[in-house]
């Protein structure tokens, strides 16, 4: 079981709900992924409450827990207000905190992130901070009251996969008791399996599923890859060696010359 703040879940895949070809495809992907947590957002309502209501009814029917985000917020003030509005709508203290600092890479503004996290933790939120793999920023986030960390492995939506394995491994090693979720940058199930083999506790995906040719099939593949990576980490895989090692014992081998 994976414990995120006071909630235990079986699935180690958190799934975003944006960019699917249709609500039906989203619903099928959620089901095939067996996720228990989906991320959602807030935007200006343009249909007198009907658009947001229809979307949220779909999510409610899927029976999953929601993790609201502050996506698109570029300042502490925006992120804090959005978090408060999300709590009003979704009735949860959970918030995926994003404070974006760079338009092209969507790199988080880590200074604003720490400040916003401190404010929100002080107001009873349970913060899931979207951050980089910087260890010092991570320490500041923990000092600010976060009990989960969500480092990127590459820019949001890039599908590049783990860009800096050494940094991700160091991050894991430095925070052995903190639930760590890789958020952003994963493109393929093999990427997800890799970071789970490093010992990450979960993976948060959106574009990698929603943008795939068959989102539901890819969602299931991710679920299997994440589970496999998690089991593999517990099984302590072999480290690579530079020389060949025969897998078949040579003792007792017949000598014909």
């Amino acid at each position: 079981m994976l414990k995120l703040y006071d909630v235990e879940v079986h699935s180690r895949l958190l799934l975003g709900t944006a960019r699917y070809p249709s609500p039906a495809v989203l619903a099928e992907a959620v089901k095939r992924s067996k996720t228990e947590i989906v991320t959602v957002s807030l935007r200006r309502e343009t249909a007198c409450g009907k658009a947001g209501g229809a979307f949220f009814e779909l999510i409610r029917e899927l029976g999953v827990r929601v993790l609201p985000n502050t996506a698109g917020c570029h300042s502490v003030q925006e992120a804090v207000l959005t978090a408060k509005m999300a709590r009003e709508v979704f009735h949860t203290d959970w918030i995926k905190l994003e404070v974006i600092g760079h338009h092209d890479t969507l790199q988080p503004d880590v200074f604003g992130l720490v400040e916003a996290a401190r404010i929100l933790n002080g107001e009873g939120f349970q913060v899931f901070p979207y951050t980089t793999d910087d260890l010092v920023v991570a320490e500041r986030l923990l000092e600010a009251g976060c009990r989960i960390l969500m480092p990127w492995c590459a820019p949001i939506g890039s599908a590049i996969g783990p860009l800096n394995p050494m940094a991700l491994r160091a991050f894991r090693a430095n925070f052995p008791d903190v639930p760590l979720i890789v958020d952003a940058g994963i493109g393929r199930p093999s990427h997800a399996a890799t970071v789970m083999e490093y010992g990450y506790n979960a993976v948060l995906l959106n574009t990698a599923v929603a943008g795939a040719g068959d989102p539901a099939a890819i969602a299931e593949a991710f679920a299997l890859a994440i589970a496999a990576g998690h089991i593999a980490h517990g099984g302590v895989p072999l480290e690579p060696r530079e020389m060949a090692v025969p897998s078949t014992p040579v003792i007792g081998k017949a000598v014909f010359t």
């Binding site: 935007r43 509005m85 009003e88």
Partner: protein, 65 residues
């Protein structure tokens, strides 16, 4: 009175936030409101009096990653 609602100017007769939502035909419980950058809780909308050029944000659930 002129209000800035979700970034657009509107001329309205409503004097409270609850009346404004009613006048604009907003319905449902899946909305959050803020005025001039501060959250206004659902239960406070009926008492919340609006002023000229207040900035109103009305947000509702959307797909997100």
């Amino acid at each position: 009175m002129t209000l800035i609602i979700n970034g657009e100017e509107h001329e309205v007769e409503a004097t409270t936030l609850a009346d404004l939502l009613l006048a604009l035909d907003y319905e449902g419980e899946w909305m959050a409101t803020a005025v001039n950058g501060e959250l206004v809780h659902r239960e406070d909308r009926a008492q919340f009096r609006l002023d000229q050029r207040d900035r109103i944000e009305i947000l509702s659930p959307m797909q997100g990653g």
